[in-house]
Point group: C2
Chain length 424, copies 2
């Protein structure tokens, strides 16, 4: 049995409304899972190998619920544009390149290194339409030791001809990846990935829903990001009740576990449907700023019982840092509070932290917390450079790390109890 | 005569609407000032010492128009609160500590190191009410080689008793600092700093306006940050036309050059008065998010002819990085565009960059650009870590540095032609 004890200042959020704080305590891990946390090391654990991280913070690894791997080279570029022209000018031309496996490898190894560096231990990823490149990305994640869902993108209409797939080939390629990777690893798995409604024919949506059900594979897509997009979907599916119900009609909306990115312009009906079906919302504050999309009313989703996580959405989002994204989430929620005449209360610090750990982590199972039985995904934070002026409480130290820290403060990373070194 | 030539990829904004780009060119500096930029090195400059920064970006140093030095230890702390309770719980208790010169030195040296590290070559700074601590901050800036205006804060009412000044002492202390530092250096100067209207009696405001006129010293304060604050000012000065005119009535609103931080809730009359009097607005996007203040309509101020610069406003703002603040400024302007039914156009990348360089720099004189006669304040950017995947244009390289770069990409810093080493 693999076992260890870690010692340090332990912080996590079992519920969103407060931090669970264990100062100078011991965390017991067996077979990659959290057994317990205690102030005094019990006799029975004294033989376990001890990792002494005294004076350092031990926190759950971060979870990024939505990002586009092939857009990694575009981070920070072209952000004077809105969604649709930005897709056409920057995104699609970049995504074409991924029929080239050498280029794919160059980009994906750098991406995975940066996820590692920033403490993102689990992520949910869009690849491109290319089958081989998608498989390479799955293999590279497997090699890295980080957790990921990776999806080959499906698009058979309304995109550049270089990226437009033959419907049948799109379905067959997707099925091939599912069969090959579905049971290969606990940590790295395929996910069905219709890009979004406008780029998928009804036939493709129907086939993808069938694949999801047949192989019990999860689903990810985009929903209600931009007002023009919402109008476009209405034109394409005039008989559907709303945007969400297009996915729902094709078994792509919680029939297997599902993530929808953005959710800025959801109607109340759509939010209710997400709550009923247990569909996750991936909140992408930087992307929603950069592409002038708007601010998702996260509080409303939480109040209505929708599971929510945070996401970078590179390269609509410019930053992969979940620390910055937590801060941006809290900040955006404050603007939403003002916009709604102070109806939707701002998110608190503990809520922001929760969303980036247990909130998104629950999509992976028992991930993102240090409660008993949770996968031990963790970061060791040396915040001595941030807290060298005056005495701070553990909560204040965590606040400082989130608001002004960076990858230099993250000194060790664990996934399922295994320490992960720089992958590439 | 001090002279040198720098070679590299030179970018700046002489006007806000476009980047001036000189690829692989030469920039001639004499006596700390820009002489010219040329593609080919002219014969007459071939004897000048050459700094070869080929493949690197050469950009103007950043200007931070508003920050609170004594709040440096509080960055990232307590941001679940709004302005007034945050001041009372976090800010004022921290500011009390600055009667201790040892503590002051510990904080200020770290602050100045971080400004240096992030390429902020000029800043406009609030100290605390303490005379000796303010002088120490002036001395430390002088020692560092960075440019700064530093103001002793004035408060004689509506604050904790530990920070409340005797009106006369407040005036005398301010005058003493002005006399001692007004002509001591070109780079580091005093600035008159009533904290904001609610903490200053009429007698104090009147005396400070007189000092400004008598010694021709600039002024800084806060304006229209928060709706409760605006109501409070109206209660305190029921006969004044508006918040801005309280300052104006006391010669603290452009009678000598003046910066007002925030300006979120200005009326059109107040914006017009700023334009007429040449009063600068310091836009502090992070602070305005964090304290749930709102978003300043920067576009409107620019359209109405108000000079605008950017600012960190630590510790209302969490970050001192002007790169992040440029990105946040552009992002916030996109939300304002949506809020105003697409009336106030979003700020472009070049506008964001302009505001953080020449926009704020003009408060210091010919600062923030590489036009002829400008002070050579510059940063050398090694962006090779950001641009190693595909070929990028110089504009795209600058975008990447601003949106995803950090202090590790800044490899040299110049102020008035002198290279500045890490100060402390």
């Amino acid at each position: 049995m693999d076992k260890m004890v870690l010692k340090g200042d332990i912080v996590f959020t079992s519920v969103k409304d407060r931090l669970d704080i264990f100062e100078d305590s011991y965390l017991i891990v067996e077979n990659g899972k959290v057994v317990k946390i205690s102030k005094v090391l019990e006799e029975s654990y004294k033989g376990y190998p001890l990792k002494d991280y005294s004076k350092k913070l031990i926190i759950p690894g971060f979870v990024d619920l939505h990002l586009h791997a092939p857009q990694y080279p575009n981070r920070g570029l072209g952000l004077d544009k809105e969604l649709i022209p930005w897709l056409e000018t920057y995104t699609f031309p970049e995504e074409e390149k991924y029929d080239d496996l050498e280029y794919s490898r160059k980009v994906f190894t750098r991406l995975i290194n940066e996820l590692w560096s920033l403490g993102t231990t689990r992520s949910v990823v869009f690849a491109s339409v290319h089958k081989e490149s998608t498989k390479l990305l799955l293999e590279l994640f497997l090699e890295s030791g980080l957790g990921a869902y990776v999806g080959k993108v499906n698009m058979d209409r309304n995109t550049k001809k270089e990226l437009k797939e033959d419907t049948n080939k799109s379905i067959l390629d997707t099925e091939e990846i599912i069969k090959e990777y579905k049971d290969k690893s606990n940590l790295v798995k395929p996910i069905i990935t219709p890009r979004f409604v406008p780029t998928c024919s009804e036939g493709l949506l129907e086939a993808l829903g069938n694949l999801a059900l047949r192989y019990e594979v999860p689903v990810q897509s985009h929903l209600n990001e931009n007002t023009s997009e919402v109008v476009w979907v209405k034109e394409l599916f005039p008989n559907s009740k709303n945007y969400a119900s297009v996915y729902d009609d094709y078994n792509l909306f919680g029939q297997t576990k599902t993530i929808m990115a953005h959710c800025i312009y959801n109607t109340d009906d759509e939010i209710e449907l997400m709550a009923e079906n247990g569909v996750y919302a991936a909140h992408c504050p930087y992307s929603n700023y950069n592409l002038s999309s708007g601010i998702m009313p996260v509080r409303k989703f939480l109040d209505m019982g929708v599971p929510v996580g945070l996401a970078s959405d590179i390269s609509g989002g410019n930053s992969l840092s979940m620390m910055s994204i937590i801060a941006a989430t809290i900040q955006a929620s404050k603007m939403k509070w003002l916009d709604t005449n102070k109806e939707l209360a701002p998110l608190t610090f503990s809520e922001g932290f929760y969303l980036a750990t247990k909130g998104g982590g629950s999509f992976f199972g028992k991930v993102g917390s240090f409660e008993e039985g949770y996968d031990f995904d963790a970061l060791i934070i040396d915040d001595s450079s941030l807290a060298d002026i005056k005495e701070l409480t553990i909560e204040e130290r965590l606040q400082k790390f989130i608001y002004i820290g960076d990858d230099r403060n993250i000194v060790n990373r664990y996934v399922e109890g295994r320490e992960i070194e720089k992958p590439f």
